[in-house]
């Protein structure tokens, strides 16, 4: 499923729990920020001006830090 440019947590609440290693298209893992969820993909501008997605980093162990400069 393609998202406009951001994984909307509210829209993609699934009845599926977590833990499968392989899933059929009709039983997809939840998109969310809780443990076991697929973190919602996003497309945002970087500080260098290029657009980037979280999904660009699939295959790597990622530490995503939400922070502020204030």
């Amino acid at each position: 499923m393609h998202l406009p440019f951001l994984g909307s947590i509210a829209i993609f609440v699934s009845t599926f729990a977590m833990g499968p290693t392989s899933v059929a298209e009709d039983v997809l893992p939840t998109i969310g920020t809780g443990v076991g969820d697929l973190y919602p993909d996003f497309l945002l501008p970087s500080l260098d001006g290029k657009m980037g997605r979280l999904s660009d980093y699939r295959g790597k162990k990622v530490l995503l830090i939400n922070f502020a400069s204030w």
């Binding site: 945002l44 970087s46 995503l64 830090i65 204030w70």
Partner: protein, 403 residues
Amino acid sequence: MWQKLVTPLVNKGDLTVIGVVQEQHPERAMLYRQWRQLDWPIYVDSLNLLNVSVVPWPTAIDESGVVRHASISPNNLKVEFLNQNYPHTIVPANYNIADQPDLSQLRLRSRQQSNASAWRDLGDALCLSDNKDKETQAIDAYRRAITLNPMDGRAYFRTGVALRRRFESPQRQPGDGQRAVLQWGRALNVNPNQYIWRRRLQQYGPRLDKPYNFYFWIDQARTDILNRGEVPVQLPIEPAGSELAGPTGPGHIAQQIHPRRNVDPQGRITRDSQHLVDLETILTPAQTQPGSSVRVRFVFRLTDNKAVWNNEAEDLYVWLTLSGSMRITEAQWTYKNPPTPESNERRVVDVELALSPEMKRATFGIPGYALYYVCEKTGDRCQYLRHDFTVQLSVDPTAPSLR
């Protein structure tokens, strides 16, 4: 602390770190990155699209994109995350992939579905687009979202972000700065627990409500960067006034209130009838509780480059005529001229007022004026001018608290 602990793991190739910064002004985050020498990719989420309600918020995500720790300590990263093997989660290739937004499709969807989230999505996409008047279009889309759902806090917050951006752009419209504050206040009214929204208001708000000086680090950052032989990132919008003010407690009276006097009580100075200087006043919060404080920001801009500031004369000066139910807790009153003979910068003067607890719900005007020296570009005529204004103060016992 984060940087020290994760850098060796990143250098070994065991870990990828991605930052998402909550910041109205990306250039300030760029300066922060330069100062701290962060070399991770950092994305900017001024609109809070990720719906983050607290920072810092470190999330550990495995190779399949699955959250393994919703909040993890840097000390535990290696044992609890990097040393773990996670099963590969297989999903269709196009599942949970963020697409570049198609504005024409989003417009069509908004009109067809006519629901708040569709219009909000359109507003978000417009904000991130390259459209010349993207803020204006986004503000309209968010307005439609709010019309359909007056409890859409995200639409209020993002309207405020877009208004503030437009306020700081050549496309600014009268009242944009104040409307941004009003929208952020409405967002906070919908969800008073949204920390990021609260911080955006506090950024421009009174010291009474401040947890700390938001940009205390900027001077130190510039010094450290220069000492390294680098050129600090330029900030198109310098933090000023309330953004640099430290917190204070109830009953505090600032020691730095400049002596002032009403230098033109009879109004004899010539009015700026040519409108050489544009003035916008912004009150934060937009509605103030009795017994609370309000920050009044005066933003002066040279209109259409018709004139320049004449710095070989006195500083820009502001006067307010207050009633007995208000007292000044901090004020600049003047904008100090830069050392060059002429300049054309935006000038900001901040005043903070404490309201009496006895005040009732009311909207009233505080009269005042500014005095400044300018030289017209055509004909080089230099003048000393007065600009009268009225600050519209709204007192409301039910206004959301910023604290």
